[in-house]
Structure formats: structure tokens, C-alpha cells
């Protein structure tokens, strides 16, 4: 590792995170990482992308630097900027530059939320050059061997603005994340919350019902994350129907009629 860069040790994932593999995503990610290829995680929110990244970072023993993208995120926020301290100007690396120099895995979550110009800085990193140009310093940093890049993206958004440009998309190996099969999802819910299996199974069935409503009243069905939330509430004593209402239905919609329908669905199960 470069001697004069800040250590990334505190970004190491110490304990093994629980990740339930759905398909061959672990193998593909590993192979991509070894070959220096960037990875695109596609899928709706709350289906395990972040958890997967934590798990992979642990498995590969690399520091993981996660940036949640939002619409004010500028290129400088990723690359770095000058600060002035006591009359001295000093350069501070942004998270991306830190990962590039220190050989960490940089995960840009919800990448389409960032401004369009922000995306340009990752392009030279995402092809075989593997360099990060730092305009303000007039330098190019060659990525450390251990550097890895992953971005996530939710193709469910219908907005034209939230689409990933072809020029960006085509640089990545894509992994698709969907809802796990009922058996696996039940296992995840049990493991994450300690809920008893019979109720966990009903909860997963309830999730399926809300997913049936996608397109006829709901933009998105319940994610695994919401199920885990509801499960945790149930474990701490909340009645299942109320837990579904607070942790799931209210998170999915504000429409009073839709909320009523969803409540009828959960009370028909529990």
C-alpha cells in the first residue's frame, strides 16, 4: 500500500455479515473483482444489495467505502477538494480517491441519483485504464490492484431522468437482484429477526400479495428490508396486522384506499 495515504483499516468489515446467496452472484462478483471489472447491481430497493457488498468486502478482505448518491453530490464530493488550514492549502481525498489509492472497494449506492456530470469521473476508472483523473491537481491516479468499483441502480424508476446512460451502463458487469424465492426469503426473515417460522412464512406470503399490486395501485411491492422491519416489530410484541400496517403498508403508499386494501390482505393472513 502507498505509504502516505490514510489507512482504510477502519473500513474493513470485521465480522462476517449474514448474506443469503440467491444465485451465482458471489462467484460472478469474485471473478469480476479479480479481473478488475466494475460491477453494476440492478434491483429494487431493500433486496440485499448493500448487504451483499458488505459480505463481498468481508470475503475479499478489502475495505468497503460506501457512498449514497443524491442529487447534490458533485464530482468534488467523490474525488476530493482543497481545504485551507492555518494559511496552508491542503488537498483532501474524497472517498473515491481514497479507495482508488488504498485498494478499497468503492460502492456508489443509487448511482442515478447523482448529478449527470458526476458520473463522468468514474468512466476512466470503469474501463481497462483504471485511472482516476484529479482535475484540480492535474494528476491521474492509477488504481491500486485491490481497488474495486460497484454501483447500484434501481431500474424500477420510470422517470426518464433516472435512467442509466448506455455509455455508463456498458462498462459494467451486471448482477440482477430480485426478490428471493419464498423459501429463501423466509430464511432471511427468520435469521434477521428471530421470528418464528410459521409467522415468517405468512409474512413472506403477505409480501407476495403486495408485489401483485405493483402496477395496479402500488409503485413497488414490499421489499425484504420492510419484511425484516415488520418481523422485528412482531418479535417485540406488536400484533402482526399492526406491524404490517406500520412497517410495510404505510411505507408503500399514502393512498387511503390502497392502505385499506393492503390491511385487508394482511388481516386475511394473520
Amino acid at each position: 500500500m502507498h505509504p502516505d495515504i490514510p489507512q482504510l483499516d477502519n473500513y474493513l468489515v470485521k465480522a462476517e455479515p449474514f448474506y443469503q446467496a440467491i444465485g451465482d452472484e458471489i462467484t460472478i462478483f469474485e471473478a469480476s473483482y479479480q479481473k478488475g471489472l466494475p460491477v453494476l447491481l440492478k434491483g429494487p430497493t431493500g433486496c440485499g444489495k448493500t448487504r451483499f457488498m458488505e459480505y463481498m468486502a468481508w470475503r475479499l478482505r478489502r475495505p468497503l467505502i460506501t457512498v449514497s448518491c443524491h442529487d447534490d453530490l458533485t464530482a468534488s464530493d467523490l474525488v476530493g477538494r482543497y481545504l485551507v488550514k492555518g494559511g496552508e492549502t491542503t488537498w483532501i481525498d474524497g472517498p473515491l480517491a481514497q479507495a482508488v489509492r488504498g485498494g478499497g472497494i468503492c460502492y456508489l449506492d443509487e448511482v442515478v441519483e447523482a448529478r449527470k456530470d458526476t458520473m463522468v469521473v468514474i468512466h476512466p476508472l470503469a474501463d481497462d485504464r483504471r485511472v482516476l483523473p484529479i482535475e484540480k491537481l492535474g494528476t491521474l491516479i492509477q488504481a491500486d490492484e485491490g481497488f474495486g468499483l460497484a454501483v447500484s441502480y434501481n431500474p424500477g424508476y420510470q422517470s426518464v431522468l433516472k435512467d442509466l446512460k448506455q455509455s455508463t451502463r456498458q462498462r459494467f458487469v451486471a448482477l440482477e437482484f430480485g426478490y428471493p424465492s419464498p423459501e429463501l426469503e423466509t430464511a432471511i426473515v427468520i435469521k434477521e429477526s428471530g421470528l418464528e417460522p410459521a409467522i415468517a412464512e405468512l409474512l413472506v406470503r403477505f409480501a407476495g400479495m403486495t408485489r401483485n399490486l405493483k402496477g395496479s395501485g402500488l409503485e413497488e411491492g414490499a421489499s425484504t428490508r420492510l419484511l425484516v422491519h415488520a418481523a422485528k416489530l412482531i418479535v417485540s410484541g406488536v400484533a402482526p396486522v399492526s406491524a404490517c400496517r406500520s412497517a410495510i403498508a404505510q411505507a408503500l403508499t399514502d393512498d387511503a384506499e390502497m392502505l385499506a386494501s393492503i390491511n385487508e390482505l394482511s388481516s386475511s393472513l394473520f
Binding site: T74, V160, L161, P182, N212, E257, F270
Partner: protein, 705 residues
């Protein structure tokens, strides 16, 4: 307070009101009854007798004779609605049916009790449909009918259920009935029935009834496993209605069909082996009827429609894939299928489609299609996978099947330049394709000094608006002298260097930074130009637009203004006033001045048309603001729930495009329907028309900061 009138006084009074002189009606009996009432009630009753008399004298006489008993049976409000519905009936159909309502007092009492305790489908349809859609399987619709049954695509339900004591319980009965009919489509009842050839048997009626009884018990057991919460409600309903105890052979029969894995075929077998003296069970409240001919017709139509759809969509998929994978054109890829286990499906297995041996990922609509085909046929037949030939493209499967569509377009209107928009028919729960013909035209600019007059009239407000909006705009500036930022602030740096040279401490604020709220907003104003805006509403709208333009010109947000009006779906007009890319020119001012009230208020097409325009823009935030004075409404059927539900749909579509719809209205009734359309926080009702111009810019400011 007046003292009570005695019977004698009342006879005179009634004789006068009821013109007894000419009719020989005997008023002594009603007069005696009314004489026994308190003075206040007497006044009340006499007022109402007069009211009814203004409609019809005979009706009023009958009312007078029955009102005392009516007051004993119902509360005052219901007694009024009894009288009103009689008068309505008189207006609509004449004396006989109206008189029938007054004389049929007991029937009226019974019906209102049912309505009060019962559950009306039309009030709960939205919620019930959501519930139904959540249950897995084919998309099903709900439609009112006299009896409960399904043809495998639509659930027909009675418009009122009142067998249980309270509205809530009757709502539960709807749910349970829906689940039952859904289960018939989902767990093989209908498919098996069609294949079992029951209709051909000699005693088909009795066999069918036996099958229906036994299969209902099988489906109840399935519901107990799949929807345990609902099953609990089912059990209490059956207890309340005394349906929980089964006659002798049926208890044993129930157990024989309750095991997991028991299919409708097992039920058919059982029914065949039943002895001839076994009687079918009485029909349960939640059971509905089986209408086999309806199912047969519906399934046949669907199977052939879906076969075509499947083949054609498959060809499209192959084409898309071919482009991606650079297939040579002369080699047709081969489609095959593979069964895979899927415990969540009632069939226990799903089907994957393979293309040259590799699994073909199916888009959502295709997955729905495949599962619908599986529900009908249990498999994807091999011939579905053969390449589509010319005969497979029967265009009628891709059109709206309703025959109304054609004759509408026989006029000349539709010929050139009209854009066709779909419209949502809530009764069918379906879009009507190409339903509205919309055309765009420009408002004729007029130069009548309106803009200048408005700016003078609101002089003070204009000044204030400019100030507020300037301040807003300046929030977007680059912030200078920041401790950190994207660029060096040269002025600050020069000063700082000078400072160090003079031996002073150097400032750390040497950067510029773009302020976070970079405005990248595009807003579309959709202006109601319906006939009802005639007069000062129109003036207020035009004044609002003038002020708004001042504000937005100061602010620099991109904006467009379009008007809309309609007269039936064949004439939906969009009026151009200002486009996004157009500057605020004299022409635009002239068009604002020239806005005139036109016809009706069909909102759906206008929302669709303008959202489309809006979503083509590259802006971070896109807003659609409607200025209106009333409910959606047009000369044809576009009124009431129809207009509201289509408008709501159009808004949902817009939101899905990432557009924020907002409504500003002066309709005082709007609070009844706007939350349903725009959501609780996306509208403003202005109480006085003259306040509109004062408020609009302010609302816009709040909306965008």
C-alpha cells in the same frame, strides 16, 4: 310558540292544502293523527304536506295519511328521504310509482334498514379490488350484478349485501365471497368443470349442484391454509347465518376433500360415486352460483386470444434478442420449455421458456401471460412454441374489443392531426384505447390592454412579487468566500495574499461553492377553459397568469401555459398559450388576454397530453399545476365517478413519469374529491375568486422552495 292545533282546525287546513273542495278526500283521519302531535311536530308535518302538495296533491294526501306511522318507524331524516324519493319518482315516472313508495312504507323501511346495515359494493369497490388484486393469479375485475359468480375474468357481485347485522360484517361477507370466487379460478374448479363434461350428463343440474357443494368445502379448506385470517371471518359468518352445521353425509364428505393436495378432479370423482339420494347442500351466503356457459365462452375467447398474443410477443422477444446477440437472419432460434418446481403455485410447478437451450428472461407482462395460460391449460402447449405464421396475427386481438369504438370515428373530425388518448373506465376497470381525440390549437392573441391594466391594478403586489422571486433566484448563486468548495474564489485569494504580505493572518474562506438548491424546475400550467369559467372566473384566471408570468420571468424557471376544454371525447381541445421554449412575448400576452370560456371539462386527456410534453423535458423537478373551477365533467358520460376516476388515473400515470401534479381550484366542493385525486397535500381551494390572482404566485413559491 304556537299552541297545538285541534282536529277541527287541522281538517280545515288540510282541506285547503289538499284542495278537498274538488276531490272529496276525507281528511278527518289524518287530521286526528296530526292533532295528537306536539305543536313543533305539527308545524313540521304541515310544512312537508305543503311541500309534497306542490308536486302533486294526491301524493300529499297519501303522505298526510301515512306520515304519523312513518315517524314511528323511522327517524326524521329518513322520513324526509322517503318523501323526497316519492317526489323524485313522480318527476321521473309519474304518480303511480310515486304513490307506491308512500303506500309501500314498510318496504321502504326494510330497504333503508338494509342499506344502513348492509354494505354497498359501489362504496367499497376500490378497496375490494385492491384486495382481489393482491391475491395471486390472473388479473380479475369486479362488476355489479344480481348474483355472485365468475366467468374466470370478472367477478360478478351483488350491489348490496345485507344478510349480516352491520356494514362491517357485510363487508367481510364481500371479502369472503371474493376469495371464494377467486379460489375457483385459482385452484382448478372452473378448468376441471369444463373438462369433466358435466353438462352432457343426464342429471347435469343435480350433479353440478353436488359438485358445487363439495368443491366449496374443498376451497374452504384451501382458504383455511392459504388465508387463515380470512378463514376465521368465514367461520364466524357461517355461525351467524347458521351455515356451520352440515347434514349427515356431508361432514364425512368434507373431510374427504380437505386434505392438502386434493384437487377439483378428486371432487369430480367423489361426486360420481355419490349415491342417488344424496342431496346437495343449501347454498352458502358466500358461495355464489356456477355459470358454466359464461365460463366456457370466456375461457374459449381467452385461450385463442392468449395463444396469439403469446406467439406474437415471442416473435418480438426473439427479434429484440436477435439484435442484441447479432444472430444471423437466416437461422431461427428454437424455443423449448422446461418445468421447474414452484411450491408457491397451486400447480406446484412453473414453466421456463428456453431459447436455443438457454433460459429466456420474460418481461412482467409475458410472465403474467404465461401464468394465465397455465391456469387454463396446465401447460404451454408445444404448438405455442412454434414460429408464428401469418395466420397468427389476427389484429382484432390487439384492439379494444368494444364495438362502440368504430362508429365513433365515422365523422370527419378524427381524420387529420388528432392525437388519440386512452381513457380509464372505472366500471370496466379497463382503459378504453384511443378513446379521446385531442387537437392542439392556439388561442387567438388579442391586444386589448388587459395585461397593462392588470399590472396597474396589482401594482403593489407586482413589486412585492418581483422582490420575493428575485430573492429566490439569488439563492442559486455561487456562494463566495466559503471555507471549502468547488473553485477558488479569486477575489478572496487576492485579498488573502495581500493580507499575508502585510503580516495579517490569512483568511480560510477562499472558495466558491454552488449553492445546493440549484433550481432546475419546469412547470406546466393547465388552465380550465370550460364554459363555467365565464365571467369573473375567467378574468381571475387571466389576471393570475399575468402575475405568474411576472414572477416566473423574475425567477427564471421554465414554464409553459396551455388551456383545455372539450365537448365529448371526439372534441378534446388543447389551447396553446405559451410553450416552454417560447419567450414571454407580446404574442403570449395577447394570448393570455384572449383566453375565453369554451365548453366542458374533460381532464384526463389534458393531463395526459401535457404530462407527455412535460416529461420530454430534461428538468430535475417537473410540476403540473391545474387551475380549475370544478370537477371533471363533459357532455357525454364523463361525469360523476367516471370523470373523477379517469382524472385520478391520468394523475397516477403522470406521477409515475416523475411529475408532481398540483391543483388550485375555486370549487368550494373540491375538498370532497381533490384528496382522492391529488392526495392530501397537493391542492389548494381558494375561497374567493378575487383572491385567486393574489394567491397563485404565492402557492407556486411555497411549492418550489
Amino acid at each position: 310558540m304556537q299552541a297545538a292545533r285541534d282536529a277541527g282546525q287541522l281538517v280545515i287546513l288540510l282541506d285547503e292544502i289538499l284542495e278537498v273542495e274538488f276531490s272529496f278526500r276525507d281528511t278527518t283521519v289524518p287530521a286526528a293523527a296530526i292533532a295528537a302531535m306536539e305543536p313543533r311536530l305539527q308545524d313540521y308535518v304541515i310544512t312537508w304536506i305543503k311541500r309534497v302538495a306542490s308536486t302533486n296533491i294526491e301524493l300529499a294526501y297519501q303522505y298526510a295519511c301515512h306520515v304519523e306511522r312513518a315517524l314511528g318507524l323511522m327517524d326524521v331524516e329518513t322520513v324526509e328521504s322517503w318523501a323526497l324519493s316519492a317526489m323524485d319518482a313522480y318527476d321521473r315516472e309519474g304518480l303511480r310509482p310515486a304513490r307506491q313508495i308512500i303506500l309501500g312504507l314498510d318496504e321502504f323501511v326494510r330497504l333503508t334498514r338494509e342499506q344502513a346495515d348492509g354494505c354497498l359494493l359501489s362504496n367499497q369497490q376500490g378497496i375490494l379490488l385492491g384486495f382481489l388484486n393482491g391475491l395471486a393469479g390472473r388479473r380479475l375485475r369486479i362488476q355489479e350484478s344480481t348474483q355472485a359468480y365468475t366467468d374466470s375474468e370478472t367477478l360478478f357481485l351483488p350491489s348490496l349485501l345485507a344478510r349480516l347485522a352491520t356494514p362491517e360484517r357485510n363487508f367481510q361477507l364481500y371479502k369472503v365471497t371474493i376469495a371464494m370466487l377467486w379460489a375457483q379460478t385459482r385452484f382448478g374448479t372452473l378448468r376441471t368443470l369444463l373438462e369433466a363434461g358435466f353438462l352432457d350428463a343426464e342429471d347435469s343440474g343435480r350433479r353440478l349442484a353436488l359438485f358445487h357443494s363439495l368443491d366449496t368445502l374443498r376451497l374452504e379448506a384451501i382458504i383455511a391454509r392459504e388465508l387463515p385470517g380470512l378463514h376465521r371471518e368465514l367461520v364466524t359468518i357461517k355461525q351467524d347465518l347458521g351455515e356451520d352445521r352440515l347434514p349427515a353425509p356431508w361432514d364425512a364428505l368434507r373431510w374427504s376433500v380437505s386434505a392438502e393436495g386434493c384437487t377439483a378432479w378428486d371432487v369430480v370423482e367423489r361426486v360420481r360415486s355419490l349415491s342417488n339420494d344424496t342431496e346437495p347442500l343449501p347454498v352458502f351466503a358466500h358461495q355464489g352460483i356456477l355459470d358454466l356457459p359464461a365460463v366456457a365462452a370466456c375461457v374459449a375467447a381467452r385461450v385463442s386470444r392468449e395463444k396469439t398474443l403469446f406467439k406474437v410477443r415471442m416473435e418480438q422477444l426473439k427479434d429484440e434478442l436477435g439484435v442484441q446477440e447479432h444472430w444471423s437472419r437466416d437461422r431461427e432460434p428454437r424455443l423449448t420449455k422446461r418445468l421447474h418446481e414452484a411450491s408457491e403455485l397451486p400447480e406446484g410447478a412453473g414453466v421456463d421458456i428456453l431459447i436455443d437451450g438457454k433460459p429466456l428472461p420474460l418481461p412482467d407482462d409475458m410472465q403474467d401471460l404465461v401464468s394465465s395460460i397455465l391456469m387454463d391449460l396446465g401447460d404451454i402447449p408445444d404448438e405455442y412454441l412454434e414460429p408464428a405464421g401469418p395466420g397468427d396475427y389476427d389484429p382484432k386481438f390487439f384492439q379494444d374489443s368494444s364495438s362502440e369504438t368504430e362508429d365513433v370515428w365515422s365523422g370527419v373530425y378524427h381524420e387529420k392531426g388528432a392525437l388519440l388518448y386512452q381513457e380509464w373506465d372505472f366500471r370496466r376497470q379497463h382503459y378504453r384505447k384511443n378513446w379521446c381525440a385531442a387537437r392542439e390549437q392556439s388561442v387567438e392573441p388579442v391586444d386589448n390592454g388587459f395585461v397593462v391594466r392588470t399590472l396597474e391594478k396589482y401594482q403593489g403586489l407586482v413589486k412585492q412579487l418581483r422582490k420575493t422571486f428575485e430573492a429566490l433566484r439569488d439563492e442559486n448563486r455561487r456562494l463566495k468566500r466559503q471555507p471549502q468548495g468547488d473553485d477558488v474564489d479569486l477575489d478572496a485569494l487576492v485579498e488573502a495574499l495581500a493580507d499575508t504580505r502585510d503580516g495579517r493572518e490569512m483568511s480560510e474562506r477562499l472558495f466558491t461553492r454552488q449553492h445546493r438548491t440549484e433550481r432546475n424546475i419546469a412547470v406546466m400550467f393547465m388552465v380550465d377553459m370550460s364554459g363555467s369559467t365565464k365571467g369573473w372566473i375567467n378574468d381571475a384566471e387571466r389576471e393570475s397568469l399575468v402575475l405568474l408570468c411576472e414572477a416566473l420571468e423574475t425567477l427564471g424557471d421554465r414554464y409553459a401555459i396551455f388551456g383545455f376544454s372539450s365537448i365529448t371525447r371526439k372534441r378534446c381541445e388543447i389551447y396553446h398559450i405559451k410553450r416552454f421554449e417560447e419567450a414571454y412575448t407580446d404574442d403570449v400576452k395577447g394570448r393570455i388576454s384572449g383566453i375565453q370560456p369554451k365548453d366542458y371539462t374533460r381532464m384526463g386527456f389534458a393531463i395526459r397530453h401535457l404530462s407527455r410534453m412535460l416529461s420530454e423535458l430534461d428538468a430535475r423537478t417537473r410540476i403540473l399545476i391545474t387551475l380549475s373551477d370544478g370537477k371533471p365533467d363533459d357532455y357525454d358520460e364523463y361525469r360523476g365517478s367516471y370523470g373523477i376516476e379517469d382524472t385520478r388515473r391520468a394523475l397516477i400515470e403522470a406521477r409515475r413519469e416523475g411529475i408532481h401534479p398540483y391543483c388550485i381550484t375555486i370549487d368550494q366542493q373540491a375538498r370532497d374529491y381533490l384528496p382522492h385525486l391529488y392526495g392530501p397535500a397537493a391542492y389548494t381551494v381558494i375561497d374567493e375568486v378575487r383572491l385567486l390572482p393574489l394567491k397563485v404566485s404565492d402557492i407556486y413559491r411555497r411549492l418550489t422552495t
